[in-house]
Amino acid sequence: MKIKKSTRIIILIVGLLLLAFPQIVQNDYYIQTAIMIAFFAYMASCWNILGGLAGQISFGHSVYAGIGAYTSTLLFIYLGISPWLGMLLGGLLAGVIAVLIGMPTFRLQGTYYTLSTIAFLTVVRILVLSNPTILGLETRGAQGMIIPLVNGGDSPANMQFLTKTPIYYVIIIMLVVVAAITNYLKNSKTGYYFSAIKTNQDAAAALGVNVSRYKLICAFISAFLTALGGTFYAQLAMYVDPSTLLGNEMGQQFGIIAIVGGRGTILGPIIGSLVLVPLQEIGRALFGGTVQGFHLVLYGLIMMIIVLFLPDGLVSLFKKLKPKNIKKSTNVNQLGANSEQ
């Protein structure tokens, strides 16, 4: 797909700004906030591949983040495998599990599919919470695992960094990659197929689309990428525990951010994250951590409002402006053509 010149310039400027951001602000708090925004934008984008492109709504997607984080951490602790490699293995495992769980549940549509995603997350969380070991490896149940430091935490080869700036660059790169993948999918056979499945499975099948196969492919990609985000989050906190990574809260947030921003678009999850994630910080500033759940109250409220009044998400506000622009430009062309005559 050809990208317009103006779009390229915007991408270039935004890219440079993103690169320069840590140098400009030089403030750990702001960098940390930017990391969280980028992280949730990344996760919402991963969710969006399944929920937005193919229309399969999951509110238990954090289960794959948990699988990724636990896999890379266990591989690191027991075998000394670097999380850079571990995250890929975790991603593969998450993808395979997504396919296995998808085989029976993708036959469900709508309500019962969404329900099955929440239920699966709950089950995995309970199993991790109430067992001190998994497959003989110590996971310490609810306590979670602390990731041991290498060289005092200064070991880029093991995804451990002393300052926030490199972490920021890691997640920005991940975000760019997932946006590029989404863009690629949207402009490829696979993405076209996802879109067809989302609108009408019967009509898709009539055109030769193997519906169940493409749903599974989509689940694999989405789970794989989500798992990478899980490892990132673990390395950011240097800590893995079931109630955060496998919590309902995470599972809900990925979806909410994408839905509020705009399902099925590249920018939607990013806009959603830019709008919603700072609310967490505002909540923290207002109540200083004494009040739980504040930002989620707002998330829930915003989601209800968006679903009621702006079902295509915040992104559709921009799109509504677009047709006017197109009309204007054609007018200009016509004028130009006339004057040439």
């Binding site: 076209y192 099948a205 030769g208 193997n210």
Partner: protein
């Protein structure tokens, strides 16, 4: 039309509960033929389509594509083997443009974006939708949607095309336009067609041969003129007494 049989139904039945929606139907479609399928509402025409295209498995009987039995195969497999279909209620993939809609069909035979685009543009040329190829599929008028639906199916390169009431909802001018297009498809692409239609004039104009279904049964088969003067057919359409009185 020649005598090669491209599609053969052998005593196909479909029961729902105790009711036979399709009852022991046998028919043949020849290469290059347009076969009309008519009958009153609820006669089982769409169910028969669903059996052929794999959306429902016949309770008994066999369906052959050429020599190959295809009974009970999944819809996407049947599409790949060369049977395209349209639906009574058209639903374009609304997220995509007209061209992209057709490309989904074209991907049936290619993985390349460029090749799919090429095929689709050819098809759009043929279906006279080229000038709208970048329009949002949801913004199309009803007649364009119908043509898009056909274009999408054509892009899968079918040997046989099943058209389910493509003229429904069109005014006479539009329906004449689509009829011409359907004829063009047969002549230029050598595709055999099976079409369900309510608008009789369309059936008369297009079909080489007509099958009449009533209560799931095949009650008449033959050339258009013969069928419409067939007593059983008139009876099923107009009622018992009318048929006998106007003999």
């Amino acid at each position: 039309m020649n005598n090669n049989i491209v599609l053969k139904l052998d005593q196909v039945s479909k029961h729902y509960g105790g009711v036979a929606a399709v009852d022991d139907v046998s028919l043949q479609l020849h290469e290059g033929e347009i076969l009309g399928l008519i009958g009153p509402n609820g006669a089982g025409k769409t169910t028969l389509f669903n059996c052929i295209a794999g959306y429902t498995k016949p309770s008994s009987g066999e369906i052959y594509l050429g020599e190959k039995p295809i009974t009970g195969l999944k819809p996407h497999k049947i599409c790949k083997l060369g049977i395209g279909r349209t639906f009574q209620i058209v639903q374009p993939f609304g997220d995509l443009s007209v061209l992209e809609n057709v490309m989904i069909g074209a991907f049936c035979n290619t993985n390349s974006m460029a090749r799919a685009k090429e095929i689709s543009e050819e098809i759009l040329e043929l279906t006279k939708l080229s000038h709208k190829k970048n329009d949002h599929a949801n913004s199309l008028t009803i007649v364009d949607r119908k043509q898009l639906e056909i274009a999408r199916a054509l892009a899968t390169k079918p040997r046989i095309l099943l058209l389910d009431e493509v003229m429904a909802g069109l005014n006479p001018t539009e329906s004449a336009q689509v009829s011409e297009m359907v004829k063009g498809i047969r002549d230029e692409m050598n595709i055999s067609l099976l079409l369900i239609e309510h608008v009789m004039s369309v059936i008369m104009y297009l079909s080489d041969c007509v099958c009449v279904l009533d209560h799931g049964e095949l009650i008449a088969q033959g050339c258009a003129e013969d069928v419409t003067t067939d007593e059983r057919v008139i009876k099923s359409y107009l009622g018992e007494k009318y048929a006998s009185r106007n003999k």
